[in-house]
């Protein structure tokens, strides 16, 4: 066995010793993937949320800057669920990036299980509003379906 092999091995080993403990989100990602496979996202480029509520079939809603989510007609998108405030949160856009803001809701806003006042969204982020789940997704111009 060459010294080169051992050198590579030692380098790789040292890197693992230096790297942080990496959180495993596999369960959440697997669930999100299954949701997306069962509810294929729209083809049109844009930003969307998959709205998942109890006793209602999941559906896609197009995001627009300033869209509010809540349990009454005051909100831009009305969702039915426990612990959802009148107007709970708001989506907004900074160029191509989207963020969600808590509107001083009673029960707060969680993204991927962590409480946030404002959060820049990554695709696949799971936003908890009361007992409803919103999955954020963007369809980009350069994304084409590969069969």
């Amino acid at each position: 066995m060459s010294d080169d092999f051992e050198r590579q091995l030692v380098t790789a080993y040292k890197q693992t010793q230096e790297s942080d403990e990496l959180e495993d989100n596999s369960l959440r990602l697997r669930k999100t993937r299954m949701l997306l496979l069962d509810n294929p996202p729209p083809f049109e480029p844009g930003a969307y949320i998959l709205v998942v509520q109890v006793d209602v079939a999941p559906y896609w809603s197009t995001l627009s800057a300033g869209l509010t989510i809540g349990r009454t007609d005051e909100a831009g998108l009305k969702i039915v669920g426990k612990w959802v405030s009148t107007v709970h949160c708001k989506f907004n856009q900074d160029e191509s990036d989207w963020f969600v803001e808590d509107l001083e809701s009673t029960n707060g806003l969680q993204v991927n299980g962590t409480e946030h006042d404002r959060h820049f969204l990554s695709e696949g982020d799971a936003i908890q509003v009361g007992n409803c789940l919103l999955i954020f997704l963007q369809v980009r111009e350069d994304e084409t379906l590969i069969q």
Binding site: Y13, T32, L37, I146
Partner: protein, 190 residues
């Protein structure tokens, strides 16, 4: 609904690529949270553009395509991170510049991507060998080869003859070779 086979193939894919993508992003300067975002977005992108993706069908030619996705998502993560900082400090440079750098970065990262993949394979193989050999054999290998301690020190620490250390080294290296070949076969690169 996806079948059980699909779920297994996905788990296998996830197991092979998770730490690789996370470490690649970390080595490009991403924080732990940014790296998690990169992994998440890369997997979601894959699900979107390849809904019929079956890892066992595409595994051999998959990694190059993954680099394209991961690179774009790293750029996205940096852009978002800069915007977080802009919220806190309005004197920061505007975020747009990052987009113009993206193509340059991707071409520069291609070499590292392959290099890091080879290192990732070694670590995966090492984990497998660790489970196959008796703990004291792996420990002598770890001390002598990985930690590069002098043989004389390892003999004292572990109370084993020096010759035994060399035997362990040969044995573990041979097993590592076997495991690397096995992994390559599993992911379609053999």
């Amino acid at each position: 609904m996806q079948d059980v086979h699909d779920a297994q193939a996905w788990d296998q894919f996830y197991q092979y690529y998770r730490t690789f993508v996370l470490n690649f992003a970390r080595n490009r300067g991403c924080s732990a949270q940014m790296a998690q975002d990169v992994l998440q977005e890369s997997l979601i992108t894959l699900t979107k553009v390849m809904p019929n993706f079956r890892y066992d069908r595409v595994k051999g030619r998959y990694r190059t395509y993954l680099l394209t996705i991961v690179s774009s998502r790293i750029v996205d993560a940096f852009r978002r991170e800069r915007k977080y900082q802009e919220f806190r400090n309005s004197d920061d440079e505007p975020a747009e510049r990052l987009d113009t750098l993206a193509d340059k970065w991707v071409s520069e990262w291609e070499h590292d991507w392959e290099k890091q993949w080879q290192q990732h394979l070694l670590i995966q193989a090492l984990e497998r060998v660790k489970k196959r050999v008796k703990p004291y054999i792996f420990e002598s290998f770890r001390l002598y080869v990985l930690e590069q301690r002098p043989a004389s020190e390892v003999t004292t620490t572990m109370d084993i003859p020096e010759n035994t250390i060399y035997q362990h080294r040969r044995r573990v290296i041979a097993m590592l070779q076997e495991e690397i070949e096995a992994i390559k076969l599993e992911i379609g690169e053999s």
